[in-house]
Every structure is written in C-alpha cells, then in structure tokens.
Symmetry: C2
C-alpha cells in the first residue's frame, strides 16, 4: 500500500469506518468481498480501516487509497466467553477495533464476530450516551406492504424495566427518522391486547410512561398479529420477546427458500439485505453482524455505518434523551 | 324434538359435549353449520348440548336424537368486562355452559364467545386439578416438515413463575401424547440462546427445574428460529411471549392469502384447522374458540372435546402432576 497516498486520503476524508475482517463464519473472504463491493458499488469517499490478518487481507484485496489495515494476529472465536476473551486477547481484531474506536482513530466499528464480545465491548469500551439507562439493539422488520419498521430491544436486555423501554422508544424513534427516513414514526408497545391496562407487569407499567412521553408519537399497544403489518413504525418490547420474534421472523426466509416459495415478501426476511444490528445508546456507531454474514451483509453494514455517521444520529439521540 | 328418543340416547351415550351457540362473530349460524358438519362428517355417537336461543337454533338446525338444547336469552358480548358480565348475566350462554359443566350435565364446554369470560369461567366455575398452580392455554404450532407441535402458555398467564412453567411442561407433554399422538414428546424451553444459563431471570430459573423433572423428556433451550422447525414437540414459555408468537404465526396465514401464496405450509397457519384452545389444568375439558370461528372451527372444536373426553386426558394430567 502507498502509505503517503493513504495518509493524504486520511487527512482529506473525515469519515473512517473500522471493520473486523476476522469476524463471522466466512472470514476473512466474505468481509473482503463486502469491502470490494462497497468500494465498487457505492461512489463513496469514506475511508475504511480493516482490522485483521494483514497478510491474508493484502493477498485477497487489491490496494486502494481508501483502505488502511490494522494488523491483528488474534481472533476471538464464536463460542469463547466474551469477557474472558476480551481480557486475554488484547490483540484480537475485536479488541483492537474497540481500542481504535475509543481512541478516535475510527468513527464506527463493525464486526460479524462473537456477538457477546461485541456487546461487552460496546458496553464497556465505549461510553453510554449521558442519561441512557441501558443501550439497546434493534432490528428492522419488513412490513407486508413493502414498508420497513423497527423493533427493539432484540436481545441485549433480556429483563427490562419500564423506564428502559421508555428510552428504547425514544432511541427507536430517532433511529427510524434518521436512518430509515420515517417522518414522525408511530411508536407502539408490543402487548397481548390492544386496551390500556393489558399485559404483563412490565407492559402495564410501561404504557403510562409512553403515553406521557412528549418525545415520541405513541399510538398504544399492538399485538403479535400486527408486527408484520404496517400498524406501527417502531415496536417497543423487552429483549427476550424481541429476540424470539426476530429469530422467528428470520427463519421465515429459510422456510420460504426450502419450500421453493420465490416470493418478494419472504425474500425481505433475508437479514443480509439490512446488514447488521446497531447498538443504540452508546456514544459511537457500533454494528454487530450475524455470524453467517456474506459479502452483501458486510457491504450493507458499511453503508449503515456511513449513514449513522453522516446523519450524526448519536448526537440526535443524545438531544432527545436529555432530561 | 322427540324427548323420549333423546332421553334414551342420553342414557346410552355417556359423552355429552356442551356448545355455546351464541359465541363468536357469526353466531349462531356458523356454530349451527359446525354442528351439522360434525354430525354429518363424523360417524360419532356423541351427544351435543347446544346452549343458546332455542328459537333460532331450531329454525336453523334439523332435529336429531343426538342434540338437546338449553335455552339462553342472554349473550355476553365480545367487549364486555368478563367478571362483571358473568355476574350480571347468569342466563347467558357462557354462564349456563359453566353451570351445566359444574353440575355434570355436560362433559365438556366449548365457546367462541368472549375469551375473557371463558377464562374467568374456567378458573372460577370449574376447579383446578389438585396441585396445579395455574391452568394454562396452549396452541398447536405447524412445523415446516408437516408435523405439529404445541406451545404453551399462550396468554392465560402473562407473568409466570418458574414452578408454573415447570407444570406447563408436564401438561403440554401429557396433552401432546394423548391428543396429538406424539410419543415421548421432546420438551424445550423457549429462550434467547441454546446454552444453559442463557435468558431472562425467568428462563434462567426455569431451566434447572425442567432439567430435573423426571415426568418430561427435556431437551434444553430452543430459540425463536426453531419454533417452526421440528426441533421440539412441546415449547414452554411465559404467556406474554407465547401470545405474541401465536398471533404472529396466525398472521402468516392472512399474509400468505393476501400475497396469493397458495402454499400448503402457510395454509396450516389457519387456526380453523385446529379448532380452539383447550384450557389445561382445570378438572374438565373447556375449549375456547376464536371470535372469528367459522363452521370448520366449530366442528373441529367438537372433535377435540370428544378426543379429550375419550382419552381421559384430565385424569392423566392429574396423575403426572401429583407430587
């Protein structure tokens, strides 16, 4: 790589997206292909910092002024204990990614590696936005009519408090405005009935908070049957329920493929279309990909990171969450 | 109706299934059609007790020795408060149904009317089986490979304790053996990860109870992606999560219809194929139908009631739940 050229590029281009090249079941090949597709398909000026085995990356990827490499000779495997692995492998691609993000060397960090390590890293390497009780992860939900909604939390917080769901509502609302381009998003509480007062203790206690929250456009409760319909734009729930729903929805893509149902709607349950899951409520953009991410997912995660930086969604989140 | 003939029939036939003719959005016509289909399609000797407006029923339905009518001139509407309605309308079809069931005049009670009133009636008119902490409602889940599983609780218990989930596992296991014909059913805990120790506080505390439960064949945690696959026969979860999943799964039928996807698998999400939801853990068979039940659903609910009486599933449940 021409170091001088890349240094000049670094000074001109403010946006620098960090990507873990060793994360995911098909690393580094699919990550490399995703980077190539991103550079080829999008007419972008973003700079990419690729974190991983330098030799392998250089062997697979043509040189480019937009790219720099941080060499890493350790990998956190998919089934390692997150906290232990982050401590014992400071030179792993995930550890180096968080170090670079914390130090301001990159503006966003993406990995399809060990999800637990990504979550622990997100929570402990990068500060939460002031006032945020708990960061959250969300997922897009394809609506039957072609639109796209958002559901959160989808697994970072298996047990939630009403005040946390109330913040998830705000974060989901800002994210869907800034990233999904939905104006005045309709926010709903996922519940077992439509009427106020329905639900488990958590939902019952959350409803009045959402109702009084002036930062969101709360439309009330929705039920399981409304999740795939265009009833709400942002669906708020605890991370246990959200995780089960997300994984059930994702399974529809595989089922439709195996059943030879070549149908546009079920194709949209292919998570690769959306890239990964951003962690909301932390100070910097962090995107977590599926272990089975292919090139398309990596490309889309880079595009998502770019959008999160461009729209400055983190600052907008902070503003809305200020007491 | 020839009273003598019906009295003789009553003495010969031990099984008497009570049906609320005024429950559901298309009452009493669809209930009547369901009864007619049941009598015509199945070569059965069961006796049916139809509870509702005698004039309307007699006008719509041909006389039969298998049928008797209990006249009711009150109806609990779909949106009435359950407890209040049951108190203020003792002559309603649902109230009379529970009175008949409690008095032993009928052996099972079916209604597609006010779900809340059916649940309150089930819990307070009919005793719970000794030792049962909380009755539960379950739903069948169509598996991609053509098999059928069971999920419970699907909404009777929005907040659950680990000991309750442990009992749901036993009840689901007995029910799926006796009614669905599954030998040694695989019981799984719905969770956000496969490993023991994963999950919210409820799932974490439930896992060891299921693991030690010698009355079930516990296979561990399953995730949302496994719900529609043939991974487990009985899926145990709290009623909030189960209700959301059930309604989401049911919505797939409507979506596949609207998207002109005439596909066998998604057709199986049409709840009418299965009839209604039995209340498990109470001493007698009670089946709750959807408000939008048509003839087929009514017919299938009668068949289900018959099967529950024939297999004596309640006594088998009691045996397995004895301390």
């Amino acid at each position: 790589m021409d170091l001088r050229a890349s240094e000049i590029a670094f000074q001109i281009l403010p946006m620098n997206i960090g990507l873990d090249m060793m994360g995911g079941d098909f690393a580094p090949l699919e990550a490399v292909k995703g980077v190539a597709q991103y550079l080829f398909d999008t007419n972008t000026q973003s700079r990419l910092t690729l974190i991983g085995d330098e030799k392998q990356i250089k062997y697979l990827l043509a040189e480019s002024d937009q790219i720099s490499i941080i060499h890493s000779d350790q990998v956190i495997d998919m089934h390692e204990s997150p906290t232990k692995a982050l401590k014992e492998k400071p030179q792993s691609s995930i550890s180096l990614g968080f170090q670079s993000l914390a130090a301001g060397k990159i503006d966003a960090f993406i990995s399809a590696g060990n999800t637990g390590a990504m979550l622990v890293g997100a929570l402990f390497s990068i500060k939460a936005i002031e006032g945020v009780l708990r960061p959250t992860i969300s997922s897009v939900i394809p609506k039957e009519n072609g639109k796209t909604g958002l559901i959160l939390d989808v697994g970072l917080n298996a047990d939630c408090k009403p005040e946390q769901l109330n913040q998830f509502a705000v974060m989901g609302s800002v994210y869907s405005q800034q990233i999904l381009g939905i104006g005045n998003p309709r926010v709903a509480l996922l519940n077992v009935g439509e009427e106020e007062g329905k639900g488990n203790l958590l939902a019952q206690a959350t409803y009045p908070l959402l109702k009084e929250n002036t930062h969101i456009n709360f439309i009330g409760n929705i039920e399981g049957r409304d999740v795939l319909l265009d009833v709400a734009d942002v669906i708020v729930c605890d991370g246990f329920t959200g995780n089960v729903i997300l994984k059930l929805a994702e399974s529809l893509h595989g089922i439709s493929e195996r059943q030879n149902l070549a149908h546009e709607y079920f194709d949209r349950f292919n998570f690769e279309n959306y890239g990964g899951t951003p962690v909301l409520g932390v100070a910097k953009p962090i995107i977590i990909g599926h272990g089975i991410s292919h090139a398309k997912a990596f490309k889309n995660m880079i595009i998502l990171a770019q959008k999160m930086i461009e729209t400055d969604v983190m600052t907008k989140l902070k503003k809305e969450l200020e007491p």
